[in-house]
């Protein structure tokens, strides 16, 4: 027994019988719920029946079904739904969906059929639409811009004013050297700097900003270009959902047509796709995300609409080498990947189509302070450019390093080792790479940055230094790469196959058939409402025997009768009343949803909502006639 069948099995008797009678018309005795469910399932398997059910699905209901299809893991009370509870109930009585354990789910026998017939689509799920006005993709900051921004702060710079806002002069300096297209808002560099701060790539020292450690830069460098941008975009996202969100961002540009945008509603649904039970914080972050993505040039975001231009619009012709010139200019073509070495050891001269960084004595010194030796710099630059460096460039590096190293404060941990540990120290190949220098007999200057590694090695060798120095460093954490953490349609086209025209009697034909039956008024009205609600699909269903035998009409002076009908309707889940009310000397008929009944010593007052959605109040005694209908087969 599947989930749906179990739900039917557990359904309260009255509602269950109503369903069965409505669709199967006959009840075999003795009642065997199991066999009735099987019959219902078989009924749903018939092409004609499905066609009739599907023919009554409205556009709004298609949106709902699409939502439920893709968010089948989301609990009912968490669904980002703007739809009336009555619609849900109606979809349930029409067997299209069911409620199980607080979750609305699509009825399994219909699930794939609905998709195939086009009643469910990812396009609907995303609430895609044509943009209200043309969207313009903002200039996308790439690795080079991030490198430029970071290298700008390689020397500590005063950035904040007393009130915490950025200094105008600094922003102007950044605007001078970094690309700053006209349509960018003034706040661009402030926001980018804020992102880099949050990413721990910049650090705040009171009112100043300074570059992070070289280790953090290296970790950032180890990511792919796409991951780096996504990392910045998802900084605020809770760690648990970052991987899925990142995956989603990677897929969306390929999935969304260039001429469509996602509404805010569709955007929120995406979150639920990644995280079925988002927290309030996650929802808030997700709703803010489009503007951050737009800042990073990953999408457009205007007036509540989010668009993903095709990758081709943003791509540039690749394959151009980085050029390193004898005058110290380093020219970076588009697509140049992030390089911690460039950030640490060079300074940005100007950004544009190509970015020009420069290696100077000062920039080299700055890099050397953070561990970028001449040899490391040479190796990294050669790797970056693919050709040998100019000879004068190399001599400069060599000379600068010699001079800077001629008098320097050495950072490291001094170990004094004597006796047998010394022999072990000298002979262990693993330890050798952590020894920076041997300043004297028995003295070893150890690399402070790798202290965890060499301490562990020492411990493995049975040696424990007498005194611990320094604290272990926290390694930076970036968004992990995940393999297909979400199931998405590969393309949107595949998810929007056009639906076939359904062939069944339409509402008007059914109503005509009903009129021809000349049924008593109450029965006529009940069937009429069933046609309206889409649960009466074939003329055969207009069998008076399937109706519940209940008194549901009162009028005239029968105050108690009227009061009983009104009270009982209020107890039903989906009540519906039809009332004849006095109106300026005449009579008006109102179809109403009862809301509240106020009983006082003098009067019983009914508060109801009329067909126009307005709330009205009337004394029960003044009601000329009241008829109660079943709002749902299940009620």
């Amino acid at each position: 027994m599947n989930d749906w069948e179990e739900t039917l099995f557990a359904m309260e008797e009255k509602g269950f019988m109503n369903l069965i009678k409505n669709y199967l018309l006959t009840l075999n005795t003795p009642y065997n719920k199991q066999s009735m469910i099987e019959r219902l399932s078989a009924w749903l398997g018939k092409e004609d029946n499905r066609a009739a059910l599907f023919s009554r699905i409205t556009e709004e209901e298609k949106d709902i079904l699409s939502l439920l299809y893709y968010l089948d893991q989301v609990p009912g009370d968490k669904l980002p739904l703007e739809w009336d509870e009555q619609i849900r109930e109606n979809l349930c009585e029409r067997l299209l969906i069911y409620l199980a354990n607080d979750r609305y789910l699509i009825t399994p026998p219909l699930r794939e059929q609905l998709l195939q017939k086009g009643h469910i689509s990812f396009l609907r799920f995303l609430d895609l639409r044509e943009p209200a006005k043309p969207h313009r993709l903002l200039f996308a900051p790439d690795d080079r811009l991030i490198m430029g921004l970071l290298s700008f702060f390689s020397e500590e710079k005063p950035f904040f004013l007393n009130d915490g806002t950025p200094r105008r002069k600094i922003i102007e300096d950044l605007q001078e050297i970094l690309p700053y297209p006209e349509h960018r808002e003034d706040s661009f560099f402030c926001e980018m700097t804020e992102l880099l701060l949050r990413a721990d790539l910049l650090e705040r020292k009171e009112k100043n900003l300074i570059l992070c450690s070289s280790e953090k830069l290296e970790s950032f460098e180890a990511l792919t270009p796409e991951s780096r941008i996504h990392h910045l975009a998802l900084l605020n996202a809770p760690a648990s959902s970052r991987g899925k969100l990142r995956y989603l961002l990677g897929k969306l540009p390929d999935l969304i047509p260039a001429d469509r945008v996602i509404s805010d509603r569709g955007w929120l649904r995406l979150l639920y796709l990644a995280e079925p039970r988002p927290s309030r914080q996650e929802i808030h972050h997700w709703q803010e995300l489009p503007s951050r993505l737009a800042l990073l040039g990953l999408c457009t975001h205007e007036e509540g609409e989010t668009g993903f231009p095709p990758a081709a619009e943003r791509a540039t012709e690749g394959g151009h080498p980085v050029l390193i010139q004898p005058n110290g200019d380093i020219d970076l073509p588009p697509e140049t990947p992030f390089s911690a070495t460039l950030v640490l050891s060079t300074s940005l001269e100007k950004g544009g189509t190509y970015y020009r960084f420069q290696l100077t004595r000062d920039s080299f010194e700055s890099g050397l302070r953070r561990g970028r030796t001449g040899a490391r710099l040479k190796g990294d630059l050669e790797k970056l450019t693919g050709h040998s460096l100019p000879p004068n460039f190399l001599t400069n590096l060599d000379e600068w390093e010699k001079q800077l190293n001629s008098l320097r404060r050495v950072r490291g941990i001094l170990l004094r080792v004597s006796g047998y540990p010394r022999r072990i120290m000298d002979q262990s190949p693993g330890l050798a790479e952590h020894i920076l220098e041997r300043p004297g007999d028995e003295w070893y200057l150890m690399n402070e940055d790798t202290q965890n590694q060499w301490k562990s090695l020492l411990r493995d060798l049975g040696l424990n230094p007498f005194e611990e120095i320094g604290a272990s460093q926290e390694s930076p954490s970036f968004i992990p790469e995940e393999e297909e953490p979400l199931s998405l349609p590969r393309t949107l086209e595949a998810a929007v196959s056009p639906g076939e025209a359904e062939t069944s009697m339409d509402k008007e034909q059914l109503q005509e058939a009903l009129r021809e039956l000349n049924l008593p008024e109450e029965q006529y009205r009940e069937f009429y409402h069933r046609i309206e609600r889409g649960v009466l699909l074939f003329p055969e269903q207009m069998e008076p025997a399937v109706l519940r035998q209940e008194v549901c009409k009162a009028g005239g002076l029968d105050f108690n009768g009227k009061l009983r009908i009104v009270s009982s309707s209020l107890e039903a889940r989906y009540p519906l009343l039809e009332m004849k009310l006095p109106d300026k000397g005449g009579i008006r008929t109102v179809r109403a949803v009862p809301l509240e009944l106020h009983n006082s010593r003098e009067e019983s007052l009914l508060l109801f909502r009329n067909e126009e959605g307005e709330e009205e109040q009337i004394a029960v005694r003044k009601i000329l006639e009241v008829i109660r209908f079943h709002g749902s087969l299940l009620s």
């Binding site: 690309p179 297209p181 006209e182 540039t316 012709e317 394959g319 151009h320 050029l323 390193i324 010139q325 004898p326 005058n327 110290g328 200019d329 020219d331 073509p333 588009p334 100007k350 544009g352 189509t353 190509y354 100077t360 004595r361 050709h387 100019p390 000879p391 004068n392 001599t395 400069n396 000379e399 010699k402 001079q403 190293n405 001629s406």
Partner: protein
């Protein structure tokens, strides 16, 4: 690096254009680019050009349209040119021709034609112009005397003037070339300057590298025009070179050539004057008495040699000489004082230029190698250097005695070359000269004595000259193929270009420029500037290190 088939040009958002040397279309693109952008630097891999209003108006004056410029950028651009750059080029270029200066038939009055009503209104309300312009229909009238002033004022507010007013012919002078093969590029330069002889031609600037024969081009222009000519030069040595070249390359005789300098004030059909004498005056408030030279003859041509050095007061008098043909000659349009627009508006737009690399490829100028040799300070000077103040430090580093040994070795190494040893400190130069037994030229050396030494050097009777920085500008040492700089700060881009120009004259062999630097001293800072400048000019630059101070 092997050449690739990527389009060579990368247009940046700020109007800078990068030209990738390692592309198959580079040479072709460079030729086109030079027509509307100025070369800023040309290091090994990527050359940098800059589009500026002046470069665009220079282009417009030579007939280049903005559509043609766009077509060039589209054809050779690796990426689409940014929209703002396209817009700026169009807007700037379209300014050319909006204001035209024309004759009126009345010799003393010109007409500034401004047909655009909004522009007409803008000029009419300009305070500085309202004093010298008289409003007319579709333009303004002005006195002939204010021709230059109006052009200079307009360019200040971003409007170039297309000067179509007629020039005066000037007095005739019979003059023919002798013993002179004008090279093809020089002939192109002459033709570009002269144009079709109609209004709007006959004034402007020719840009050619040091050693490429600017003097010859000037003489060829004189021979083509056959008019009495005033030639302005930066100093006496340069003046004498012009005189010698004119005498040897034309049929003019000594009595037809006058010298107007500190030594003598003789005006002849061809008169050579120095900038210094022209701007001399008794005191700061007195008038420039020698400006009368411009009016004392009916000059048919005025040549401004090294026009990028033209002193500000000469611009002022040049503003009054707008009816005369004017030829500016220079290796670079860049002025340290930023007054490039004065050259454009008062001498005239660039009519011709040719990159030095092209001439080097064609073999017209020598291939040059730059070496920086870093030499340790001797042990006994290291502590005095460390404890000295900034100025003294510089001097100790500059006068490092070990440099003399190195220079001596270089002289030995280049025993078959003509060598110049250049320095800043006389005592150092004296010692150097004494060591290698070479003549020394300083500011105190009389001109006559200098010329004797130069002549002997030219005839290879002497192989080495030790010279102070007086040699920096406009002396012609045709056979020097090695320069050794003992000391001297990196003064300016021009100075460095000129210094190198001393060894770039056409020769059969390569040229070498050695710069001797005290290692790990403040001299290295100056050397870095020099290194940057020279590598940006495309010279091969090698650094050698002597000693092991560390």
């Amino acid at each position: 690096m092997t050449k690739n088939d990527f389009p060579p040009l990368i247009v940046q958002g700020d109007g800078t254009i990068l030209a990738d040397v390692h592309t198959l279309q580079f040479e072709e693109a460079r030729g086109e680019l030079g027509r509307f952008a100025e070369l800023e630097k040309s290091p090994e891999h990527m050359h940098t050009y800059k589009i500026s209003p002046l470069s665009l108006w220079n282009a417009a004056s030579s007939g280049l349209s903005w559509e043609e410029i766009m077509a060039i950028l589209d054809k050779y651009g690796r990426f689409p040119a940014p929209e703002n750059v396209r817009h700026n080029i169009r807007e700037t270029l379209l300014r050319w021709g909006k204001i035209r200066l024309e004759g009126t038939g009345d010799e003393g009055v010109l007409f500034l034609r401004v047909e655009d009503p909004y522009l007409h209104k803008e000029l009419a309300t300009s305070k500085s112009l309202s004093k010298i312009l008289t409003r007319g229909e579709k333009g303004f009238f002005l006195d002939l005397l204010n021709r230059g002033t109006v052009k200079a004022e307009l360019i200040k507010i971003g409007w170039p003037v297309e000067d179509l007013a007629p020039l005066v012919e000037g007095a005739d002078l019979e003059l023919d070339l002798m013993n002179l093969d004008v090279r093809e590029y020089q002939r192109h330069g002459v033709e570009a300057f002269l144009g079709n002889g109609k209004p709007g031609t006959g004034f402007g600037t020719v840009v050619m590298p040091c050693g490429s024969g600017k003097t010859i081009l000037g003489i060829a222009v004189m021979a083509a025009l056959k008019k009495q000519t005033l030639i302005l030069t930066p100093n006496v040595a340069s003046l004498h070179q012009w005189r010698d070249e004119i005498l040897s390359k034309t049929d003019l005789t000594e009595d037809q050539i006058g010298e107007y300098s500190g030594d003598q004030k003789i005006i002849k059909p061809v008169t050579l004057a120095t900038y210094q004498v022209l701007v001399w005056r008794k005191d700061k408030t007195s008038p420039f008495t020698h400006f009368s030279l411009f009016r004392e003859n009916d000059w048919g041509l005025i040549i401004y040699d090294e026009v990028h050095l033209l002193p500000a007061p000469v611009f002022k008098i040049t503003a009054e000489l707008q009816a005369r043909r004017r030829l500016g000659l220079t290796a670079t349009l860049i002025r340290e004082d930023g007054a490039e627009s004065h050259v454009f508006s008062l001498v005239g737009p660039k009519r011709f230029d040719i990159p030095w690399k092209e001439l080097e490829t064609q073999g017209w100028i020598a291939e040059a190698y730059c070496h920086e040799i870093r030499i340790d300070l001797p042990d006994n000077l290291q502590l005095p250097y460390a404890s000295a103040d900034k100025r003294k430090k510089y001097r100790i580093a500059a006068e490092n005695p070990l440099k003399l040994n190195e220079a001596q070795e270089l002289v030995e190494r280049h025993r078959n070359d003509q060598i110049l040893i250049i320095g800043q400190y006389i005592s150092q130069l004296e010692e150097m000269a004494q060591r290698i037994n070479a003549p020394l030229i300083t500011g105190k050396t009389p001109n006559s004595e200098r010329e004797v030494i130069y002549n002997r050097f030219k005839k290879a009777e002497i192989r080495v000259i030790v010279v102070s920085k007086v040699a920096n500008f406009a002396i012609d040492l045709p056979d020097a193929s090695v320069a050794i700089q003992l000391s001297g700060a990196f003064g300016s881009r021009q100075e460095e270009a000129q210094r190198l120009g001393r060894i770039l004259r056409p020769k059969q062999k390569n040229s070498y420029f050695y710069s001797l630097i005290s290692r790990f001293t403040t001299e290295e800072d100056f050397a870095m500037n020099r290194q940057k400048f020279l590598t940006e000019q495309g010279y091969k630059y090698q650094i050698e290190v002597r000693g092991e101070a560390l």
